[in-house]
């Protein structure tokens, strides 16, 4: 009996009460209050939703749907959406860390649940915490090309994104009534029976947590050393802003000189996969190299590199935008894809598959829909900025088209199949 009550005391000391908002005994930081939690949660919601929507757009590019073809224009659309995707993901790191820290006592509330609703809410929070941490961690690791796992990054990141966004939606009903007054300063909700009433007129529209929960001796509104609520929010915003400022130059040319922590430098004309890693150095340099145009065509064609270079060339200024968030604009020169398709007698409005010399890669083949194949700037390029393509940039021939992700700008092209 004595042991049982001692155990209860210990549990009561280091856990919190799930019925009261952020009630804490052992965690008396003045910054753990509802208003702060609401602002950080809302910021995280905006950042994660931005990541989710832009990520879906990237997924649609890489896993095309026949009933929803992606337009080729505007040419820089994917550059913008993917740059935003990665920048939002990076900016969410400090917000996630801060949010987890503010609400951490809630994770150790005891008992964990007294009703079905508690269990549902806490399971959702578990999904949000595990999913949120995984999405930010795997995204940051991926852009630094660190792969401490054996699963496919894109598949795991994509499916976990659904879990995370679902976990973001699930607690809206539970947290909304608390977050709304905390965010917008509306009058506090009627106090829960059993807690003391909130004194009216103490400070207009600002319910202090200490009023709602007497277990707290201090709140972010009281006088204390250290950061107050506004200071803490400004600190988190500064951390997100600084991370953005020191990385976004990998896609925004105006910020390049500040991109001290970016994993890529667009001035280097970076590549995602080198010719050596793709295992194509010998095949790409072989005199026996040919480009074949076949499939649903009247006349299948085969070209040597010299024959391709004797065809009318076209130059286009196009961005190459990697799914990892870096991008740069360059001058590409080569033969128009639509001219080749016309020469082979492909039906108007055809879509094609473009195949690489690379053998064992999920990106050895890409789909070019009818909008993109018919665009005047979709090229099979032989030159980059006036110079012959390097092996890493896809020598002898690479696909480059407006508004496509870098992984779909297939390098070392050897075959075009009209589908």
């Amino acid at each position: 009996m004595v042991r049982s009550s001692r155990l209860t005391t210990v549990i009561g000391t280091y856990t919190t009460d799930p019925d009261l908002p952020l009630r804490q005994h052992a965690y008396q930081s003045p910054l753990r209050d509802e208003r702060l939690a609401a602002w950080l949660g809302a910021s995280l919601g905006v950042l994660f939703t931005t990541c989710f929507v832009t990520g879906l757009f990237s997924h649609l590019h890489q896993h095309p749907l026949s009933w929803l073809p992606v337009p080729a224009r505007p040419a820089g659309l994917f550059r913008f959406t993917q740059g935003l995707h990665v920048a939002s993901g990076i900016a969410s790191l400090p917000v996630l860390v801060a949010k987890l820290w503010v609400v951490w006592p809630r994770f150790v509330s005891f008992p964990p649940g007294r009703r079905v609703a508690d269990a549902v809410e806490r399971l959702g929070i578990l999904a949000l915490v595990t999913g949120g941490i995984f999405m930010v961690f795997s995204g940051v690791a991926n852009i630094a090309q660190w792969y401490p796992w054996r699963f496919s990054f894109t598949a795991a990141h994509y499916w976990t994104a659904w879990i995370t966004i679902g976990a973001l939606v699930a607690p809206v009903g539970a947290k909304g009534p608390i977050a709304r007054p905390a965010l917008f300063g509306a009058a506090p909700a009627a106090p829960v029976r059993g807690t003391p009433p909130v004194p009216r007129g103490r400070r207009k529209n600002r319910p202090a947590l200490a009023d709602a929960d007497p277990a707290l001796s201090t709140s972010a509104e009281g006088r204390h050393d250290g950061l107050d609520r506004r200071g803490f929010l400004l600190t988190v915003a500064a951390a997100s802003g600084l991370l953005t400022l020191t990385t976004v130059g990998q896609t925004l040319p105006g910020f390049r000189r500040l991109a001290l922590l970016a994993p890529r430098d667009p001035a280097d004309r970076p590549v995602n996969r080198s010719a050596r890693n793709a295992g194509v150095i010998d095949a790409a340099a072989s005199p026996g190299y040919r480009l074949r145009v076949e499939g649903r065509v009247a006349t299948p064609l085969t070209f040597t590199l010299d024959q391709l270079q004797s065809l009318p060339a076209h130059t286009a200024e196009l961005p190459i935008a990697c799914v990892e968030g870096w991008s740069y604009s360059a001058r590409w020169t080569g033969v128009r894809l639509r001219d080749l398709l016309q020469m082979a007698g492909a039906p108007p409005g055809s879509a094609v598959h473009v195949e690489s010399l690379e053998e064992h890669s999920p990106y050895r083949l890409s789909f070019v829909n009818h909008f993109q194949a018919g665009d005047a700037d979709t090229l099979l390029a032989t030159h980059l900025d006036g110079a012959v393509l390097s092996a890493d940039h896809g020598y002898p021939l690479r696909l480059i088209g407006p508004g496509r992700p870098g992984v779909n700008q297939t390098k070392w092209v050897t075959r075009v199949v009209v589908v």
Partner: protein, 144 residues
């Protein structure tokens, strides 16, 4: 024990929509098991939460306790701010500092000296927070 508010339609409606999305994600992760390796993915999901709860959060708590004893008065806020910003910068830069990307032998990956650059940015953060604290101190002194 306090009474608990009843859960209304908003609670159950958003929970149903959210869990439908979570279910779709779980189904996808299990269905595409060759790519997602659900066992390993689950270990990473739970491992991330455990690493936060058992490693990062206690470290931050200890740092907070140490800070509250070591730094008092108006300097505590700028020190907290500088530590938070520098800590999150270091968290982001960790894979770059370790140079994992160099293993792929991609000459365009990780082109900078990230230790030096992180040092530079952290120095700017420390300087910025110190200057902000001094200016705020002077302003509040002049108001008195």
């Amino acid at each position: 024990m306090s009474a608990v508010p009843r859960r209304g339609p908003l609670f159950w409606g958003s929970a149903a929509a959210g869990w439908a999305l979570i279910g779709w994600g779980l189904r996808g992760a299990l269905h595409h098991r060759i790519d997602t390796r659900p066992g390993q993915l689950a270990r990473f999901l739970l491992g991330g939460a455990l690493a936060h709860d058992l490693l990062l959060a206690p470290l931050v708590l200890l740092a907070g306790v140490a800070l509250s004893r070591a730094v008092r008065g108006r300097w505590r806020a700028p020190v907290q701010a500088a530590l938070f910003i520098s800590g999150t910068l270091a968290l982001f830069t960790y894979p770059e500092l370790r140079g994992y990307g160099h293993g792929l032998r991609n000459p365009t990956s990780l082109p900078h000296d990230y230790a030096a650059n992180l040092g530079l940015v952290v120095a700017a953060v420390v300087l910025g927070t110190a200057v902000t604290a001094l200016v705020r101190g002077l302003l509040s002194a002049s108001r008195r």
